[in-house]
Symmetry: C2
Subunit: 152 residues, 2 copies
């Protein structure tokens, strides 16, 4: 049996490699990739409820609780009461949260640079374009990582 050289395997292999590498880069900030994703999500949807965000990310409500707990304990996120609906929270980034997100974005750019280092600029453009097309063709939501949901 020959070893698979298919695109799908390479994508999964490189994707997992990159994710691990990214997690390493984040370690000094004491934050994990998934928390960065959640910070971005909150930043892009200020004031949304936990379940609204959870739905977009494919995360079950009970999991969102501890998820947001992590960020709140570190002072990155505030759970404000929503006066329109006192059942739901309105999630907001704090100043610290925004700063942390900015930090993480910088690391993200460095990381991207490292991953693409073996390619020329032209090749990176071609690759980015092909991957974008695959991503949209398969209905993946920009900026939302499928790894959040373990089952569905």
């Amino acid at each position: 049996m020959e070893t698979p050289k298919g695109v799908a395997f390479l994508l999964s292999q490189l994707g997992a490699f990159g994710a691990q590498r990214f997690a390493e880069r984040l370690r000094p900030l004491e934050i994990e990739p998934r928390h960065v994703g959640l910070l971005r999500m909150i930043s892009a949807n200020e004031g949304a409820s936990q379940q609204e965000l959870g739905e977009r990310m494919g995360v079950v409500p009970s999991r969102m609780v501890s998820f947001v707990d992590d960020l709140e304990k570190r002072g990155f996120v505030e759970r404000r009461r929503n006066p329109k609906d006192r059942r739901a929270y309105a999630l907001h980034l704090t100043g610290k949260g925004t700063a942390m997100l900015r930090q993480a974005m910088l690391i993200s750019v460095e990381h991207d640079e490292e991953v693409c280092a073996p390619l020329s600029q032209d090749e990176r453009d071609v690759l980015a374009q092909l991957l974008s097309r695959l991503s949209t063709a398969h209905d993946l939501i920009p900026g939302v990582h499928p790894g959040y949901r373990h089952l569905r």
Copy 2:
């Protein structure tokens, strides 16, 4: 904060998506992607010991035990005694194991076809070539998925 459009994120996103999709396709066979990887590994290194394979795959010995247990329970793998070193086993695929691997490889090809469907043949070739270069440049071992090792 704008949503990331970097290559690294797209790789991780598409890789995770593909992995989930592949797992779904495998479900009817009642086997998981990691087991397929192990079957391939054994097939490519007939007679190797558990720890030899574990080392190549980045899997810790204690985990290899239950890992191989799964495959042995299903009758896909045999633990033969190695006469040269009676501490170690010599792992071998059974006929059933070979058949299952063949099945899985077929599904793998179908899966690859699905993932690449949005691209023309030329584009697939370009993509495959770029991904291969990234993979080798980052010292990823062909056919070995980094997801096996959770820590190192």
